[in-house]
């Protein structure tokens, strides 16, 4: 099953590689990984999407907690939470397709952020399902380039992950 794991860790050189090294050393899977400093510049917030049985995910959270640089770990999938991902996608936009793609972007509430005679670059945010639906709705041959940030997650309601 897919799990969204949130990690608060010291913003130290090498902290990211400790986390990534743990996953590769123990054969765990990383589907997406995002990381950036928080409002407190000494802390980074990381979101990892991983797939595995409950036993594996339990081991992953235990091992993450064991890392000295890790301050807190939460498996967001255990409760209500929000996931968002940002995608930048460059598509061929000529002739009849040009209008069609604009309409499609509007339907998915994407924004066209760069334009040339032949292309549109579209910015789209949403959960993984929405992003994939948009890609699916486009003509494969029209897609020139995609860039996805991977999932960022946060708990719903008053649940917070901080020091």
């Amino acid at each position: 099953m897919k799990h969204v794991i949130s990690i608060l860790l010291e913003n130290e050189p090498g902290a990211l590689s400790r986390v990534v090294g743990l996953f590769s050393a123990r054969g765990y899977n990383i589907e997406t990984l995002t990381v950036a400093p928080t409002e407190d510049p000494t802390l980074s917030r990381m979101t990892i999407v991983s797939v595995g049985s409950d036993e594996i995910i339990e081991q992953i959270t235990k091992h993450l907690n064991r890392l000295i640089d890790v301050v807190k770990v939460v498996d967001l999938s255990e409760g209500p939470h929000i996931e968002r991902e940002l995608m930048l996608i460059k598509v061929r936009a000529v002739g009849k397709e040009r209008e069609e793609i604009k309409r499609m972007a509007d339907i998915f509430r994407g924004r066209i952020i760069d334009v040339t005679d032949k292309t549109y670059t579209i910015e789209l945010t949403g959960d993984q399902g929405k992003i994939e639906a948009f890609i699916g709705a486009l003509d494969r041959s029209a897609i020139l380039e995609t860039v996805r940030t991977g999932v960022s997650g946060i708990g719903r309601g008053e649940r917070v992950l901080k020091l």
Binding site: N65, R66, I68, D69
Partner: protein, 573 residues
């Protein structure tokens, strides 16, 4: 007080009460060695290879309650140390390794003797640091010691670039304990869980206590002993836990696992409540986890590391905490609960009857010989001569298993071996560390002619520092354990397992100024060991025992098999 980085390193070691550092100098650590020259708070032991420095510091720690310290230079100094670090990591040994690094401005430029130390060691340390600023040096050193010895212990590495060791800053002595927001190890276990465990124990009809290295590391032998007395349950200790419970006691059923006793393995499998204390259900201990789980039993698992719990075997009552603290609470609650509802004393009689029938198989009996020296016999004689009180280090292979099976350790921290990583070559440097931590004790190395050659250069270090271990080499001219597996699983095709072109060990050790004895007859075994520990007490003695070439270690559970699928001897092949 304004000090340079090298002096700060020395000051911090003194602050931690370090009295021995094992190391080897080189370019990147010359300022540190200069500071060592000018100090007298600790003694530096100059080894002959960095791997030995780390092993010695590791054994220093295993055989005492101190944190071992090793010091190596950048590049090859560090890469040589990696095997030692990984060995300590697998067995959770508290250590601090200080490595030199090229100057900060040269890092990443493929400088002479540069390597990515933090990257190379990351998977085999509890934590590591690269100190980029002399102002962070003292605090980093303090954190390193704190992390190494608290929680689940482990090696911590501090990588110090050369320019940091010569830069200066204000140094103030340590005040109070180290605090880190991202690291706060637990000690106490969950009371409710401990209560549950006690209830299970009280209701058990076939209880079993399975103790590991965690008992030794948390100095909880007395508590373990009390628990065994109170519950009346049989007790087994793993390879890492030998000595945590006295090997001569009636409740002791020997070591479990691949080369464990018949009774220990049968009891592990057939008990109804298993209390695992500071042990981790290692593959060499429980064999195939599916087979192990197939017999129903309740499992209580006490461990300081949550990631050890339910890793290979699902447990019913996990208790995360320091073994000593948890056992103390458990004993208190047990006495209380037993007073309220006294347990039926005869309740375990049937279970013991069963255990004793397993015992009656006498699985450690071996064929005696008047002509060939049996390796088991050498270990038994060592036990007799030393009264079971020596510190015994070993290398890895058949001799290691015979040492574990036949030297009935009565005290913790006396059996020093590489359990997790299984590193050949640790025996001699381990003896050096043990001897520096316990200068008056008898120290024996049980080794083989192959293992000893993996760090034999340390005979020179032993000369320099007048170290006097007695090396018992069980010389069978084979990589014995490899040969045994090849005999059993590879159609007796002895591929590259014959040890050819051996040196004359007697002459070799004599050339280093030590005493060498070659023993070829069983009748000479005991006199030779006696001579080594009396006449040559103040010398290093190498006893080269020419043993039965094809003796095997029994019992044996083949890799991947179930714990009770034991081969008890060659007749089972």
């Amino acid at each position: 007080m304004e000090l340079n980085g090298a002096d700060i390193v020395v000051r911090c070691l003194a602050e931690e009460g370090v009295d021995h550092v094992f190391g080897y100098p080189g370019g990147a650590v010359l300022y540190i060695y200069d500071a060592i020259y000018k100090q007298d708070s600790f003694q530096h032991i100059l080894v002959r290879h960095e791997q030995a420095a780390v092993h010695a510091a590791d054994a220093y720690s295993r055989s005492s309650d101190k944190v071992g310290v090793a010091l190596v230079t950048s590049g090859p100094g560090l890469t040589n140390a990696v095997t030692g670090i990984a060995t300590a990591y697998m067995d959770s040994i508290p250590m601090v390794i200080i490595s030199g690094q090229v100057p900060t401005h040269a890092i990443g430029e493929d400088a002479f003797q540069e390597c990515d130390t933090v990257g190379i060691t990351r998977p085999c340390v509890k934590h590591n640091f690269l100190v980029r600023d002399v102002k962070e040096l003292a605090e980093t050193m303090r954190r390193a010691f704190y992390i190494a010895k608290t929680g689940r212990p482990g090696p911590v590495l501090v990588d110090i670039p050369k320019d940091v060791t010569v830069a200066t800053c204000k140094y103030t002595a340590r005040r109070g304990e180290v605090r880190m927001r991202s690291y706060s190890p637990v000690a106490k276990g969950h009371q409710g869980q401990i209560k549950k465990a006690v209830q299970m124990l009280l209701a058990a009809e076939r209880p079993m206590i399975y103790a590991g290295g965690g008992v030794v590391l948390s100095d909880a032998s007395n508590e373990l002993r009390e628990l065994v007395e109170l519950t009346g349950a049989p007790c087994t200790t793993t390879l890492m836990g030998l000595g945590a419970y006295p090997g001569g006691e009636d409740k002791y059923v020997g070591m479990p696992g691949m080369h464990g006793t018949f009774e220990a393995n049968m009891a592990m499998q057939n008990c109804d409540v298993l209390i695992a204390v500071g042990a981790r259900f290692d593959d060499r201990v429980i064999g195939n986890p599916k087979h192990f789980a197939a017999t129903p039993r309740k499992i209580v698992h006490v461990d300081i590391d949550p990631s050890s719990i339910s890793k290979r075997v699902r447990v019913d009552v996990p208790i995360v905490g320091n073994v000593k603290d948890v056992l103390q609470d458990m004993l208190g609650l047990y006495v209380q609960a037993a007073a309220e509802t006294p347990a039926d004393k005869g309740r375990l009689a049937k279970w013991w009857e069963q255990v004793n029938t397993w015992r009656a198989r006498q699985c450690l009996d071996y064929e005696k010989s008047d002509t060939l020296i049996k390796p088991q016999f050498v270990v038994e004689k060592l036990w007799e001569v030393t009264g079971g009180n020596a510190f015994v280090t070993s290398d890895v292979g058949q001799h290691q298993m015979w040492a574990a099976q036949y030297y009935r350790f009565n005290k913790p921290r006396r059996w020093i071996n590489s359990g997790g990583l299984g590193t050949m070559g640790v025996g001699l440097p381990y003896a050096m560390g043990v001897q520096m931590a316990n200068p008056d004790a008898d120290v024996a190395v049980i080794t083989g002619e192959a293992s000893i050659q993996m760090n034999i250069q340390e005979l020179s270090t032993c000369s320099q520092y007048r170290m006097t271990p007695k090396i018992l080499c069980l010389n069978n001219r084979y990589l014995g354990m490899v040969r045994q597996w090849q005999q059993i699983d590879y159609g007796s095709r002895y591929s590259e397992s014959y040890v050819d072109a051996l040196p004359d060990f007697v002459k070799l050790v004599e050339s280093y100024g030590h005493v060498g004895l070659r023993i070829e007859k069983p009748a000479d075994v005991e006199p030779a060991i006696r001579e080594a520990f009396t006449k040559h007490k103040k010398r290093l003695v190498f006893l080269d025992f020419i043993t039965d070439q094809t003796e095997n270690v029994w019992p044996m559970v083949k890799a991947g098999k179930g714990l009770t699928e034991m081969l008890l001897g060659s007749e089972d092949l």
